[in-house]
Symmetry: C2
Subunit: 351 residues, 2 copies
DNA sequence: ATCACCGGTGGGAGCGCTCCCACGGTACCT
DNA sequence: AGGTACCGTGGGAGCGCTCCCACCGGTGAT
């Protein structure tokens, strides 16, 4: 009977069975109480809860996962650390939201890095093994095979920053279009008329939407859009520098710049200063992201704040809903879920 | 026989049993191959590996965890988001190191937030249930009960930023003493003689060590330490402002400031500028952390860089070693493990 | 030849849980 | 009174794995 180290290999945490014995009920009943089933009488439930408390019972996740074929875990897939996602404050803010929302539940958060090929391989295996109930995807490139893999495996997933207007996955996004509009409208209201735009990488859908917002804000205000004032950047500081130099060369009379990120705005500011342009007197500058850089820039940078923490919360909400449905959005038919959250323009001395 | 939905409830991922059948061997043998046991003949191993590849077998973590009483998971416990830990670039850099080192192993990373009381309660339960094989602790307050809890539960743990010189947990730290010395020596070499220090919160051990480094660098250079030049801060920008005002009031002739963090340096810079002091001509300024703020400050801030990514890697290494030993450092006797990594002074225009 | 031994192997038992079937009891119908 | 329904409950079976014991055949020692 005591053949095989049966008795608690390490300290003996109480099991369902022991709780059942203590409460004078069967195993099934305890399980029902633990899982909040309604099919338990109040008296029994009270007795079980007392036993649970006395014994300090905590369910064994592994056993539960094995028996129920679920994991109570979701994965946050972090793409290459090089991407702007991993930069402040995006990452930590989103995590804050995710963590806050998750702490209301029993779910646990797994962080999975998918930078190297090796890591992506592991991730694919991981997902194939259905070791998580759902996946959070952030800043995925348009050509990334991951979303399709998830759809194929029927793993619930939510993506932040849809890859296109036709995104099939459930998505959460901030209102890039509206954010860009608010920036441009602000500059117009300050009397600027030759407003340039340094864009983000245009294979990023959000960057495209910002360009759309830029264009339409100008058109709606009765201005023409001068294509020479739109200069592609790549979200980097150096890209911002290059773009600003190009703009100055083509349109020396530019009187405002709306940059698609604070980092690019920082690059642009360097060039403007080198060229002797005073901010905001000669050229007004507006960034995007409202990062620490914006607050500490000289002069402090007007920037579009995205509700990133809210986005994290929204992602969890949508994901949990999808897990509850137990099937990914694609097989639910057409009812694509998505959330678009409003941005806010934070006005500072640079404009 | 087919009483109870036995056949793959969801897609039928292959099991050990199926791999065994395919390879014409027993379950135990496949398990041995999967786990790299040496007690398998080469021929058998090859056959099993072929079967694994053909079937695309991936072990079921839950079953493994249940049977073997281990989880192959470690937790990174994130304290209150308010702390400086959660600020850039500390968090993401450390995560980068942790992720890189972890991707060499089969371990998975759990992120656990322990900000609110509620969350800490969950964490305690979590740990009591032994749902992770080890724990990574970051920026823990001196009076935090968590380390003791971990020791009591005999859960391997590594702390970044030891709580004191007598830290009992295995720890990883950067050389705060040496970093501070390098900052002060740099200022001395620039001919500064009235060097002030704005400290971090002195209940943080690392902040104390920086003060030690500051003092001894001065003493070793044959200078006296003027206690009026040491002003306590709290790692915040506002704290930096207050400290700088105080210093200026007490010692208007100060010609250099070594701040215990970049953020405090930013606060100090504001005050210096308001008072008409030119950086670095009138007052040289050096920060600590080499964050984005330092690079983008005006003028760019000389700062002490900590090898945070390396620290992340070191934490994982130490933790894995400890898990392999299957017992926490405390019960291994006196051989406390710790790693202290060197810092680097990044010189910029502010000094 | 006999025995102990050892590398290599198969498979039973068990990890702690969920799922589901079966069962006793009460309430309500005919 | 007998039948039917349903509620609350107990407990068997099974999730996929690891651990360990038993077993098999081949060696080398006796």
């Amino acid at each position: 009977m005591a053949s095989h180290g049966a008795r608690g290999r390490s300290g003996g945490r109480p099991t369902l069975e022991e709780v059942a014995a203590r409460a004078g009920v069967g195993r099934g009943t305890v399980s029902r109480v633990i899982n909040g089933s309604p099919r338990v009488s109040d008296a029994t439930r009270a007795a079980v809860e007392a036993a649970v408390a006395e014994l300090g019972y905590v369910p064994n996740t592994a056993a539960r996962a094995l028996a129920a074929n679920r994991t109570d875990a979701i994965a946050l897939v972090v793409p290459e650390p090089e991407t702007r996602f991993f930069a402040e404050p995006y990452f930590s803010d989103m995590l804050k939201g995710v963590g806050a929302e998750l702490s209301e539940t029993e779910m646990q958060l797994l962080l999975i890095f998918a930078g190297s090929d090796r890591e992506r391989q592991r991730l694919a295996q991981y997902l194939a093994a259905h070791r998580v109930d759902g996946v959070l995807l952030v800043s995925v490139h348009a050509d990334d095979p991951l979303p399709d893999l998830l759809a194929q495996l029927e793993i619930p997933a939510v993506i932040s920053g849809p890859r296109s207007a036709a995104e099939t996955l459930t998505s959460v996004d901030s209102d890039n279009y509206g954010g860009a509009r608010s920036a441009v409208e602000h500059l117009l209201s300050r009397g600027r008329t030759r407003i340039a735009h340094i864009t983000g990488r245009l294979d990023v859908y959000g960057a495209q939407r910002r360009v759309d917002g830029y264009r339409e804000a100008l058109l709606d205000a009765g201005h023409e859009v001068d294509e020479h004032l739109i200069q592609p950047g790549d979200f980097t500081e150096e890209g911002g520098r290059r773009a600003m130099k190009e703009l100055l060369a083509r349109r020396p009379d530019v009187d405002a710049v709306f940059a698609g990120s604070d980092v690019m705005a920082a690059g642009a500011r360097q060039v403007l200063r080198e060229e002797g342009r005073v901010i905001p007197d000669d050229v007004a500058l507006v960034g995007y992201d409202d990062s620490a850089i914006a607050r500490h820039m000289d002069p402090p940078l007007t920037s579009v704040r995205q509700p990133i923490e809210e986005m994290g919360r929204a992602m969890i909400d949508l994901l949990l809903a999808e897990i509850a449905d137990r099937r990914p959005a694609t097989s639910r038919g057409l009812e694509r879920r998505q959330a678009v959250l409003a941005t806010e323009l934070v006005t500072r001395a640079s404009s």
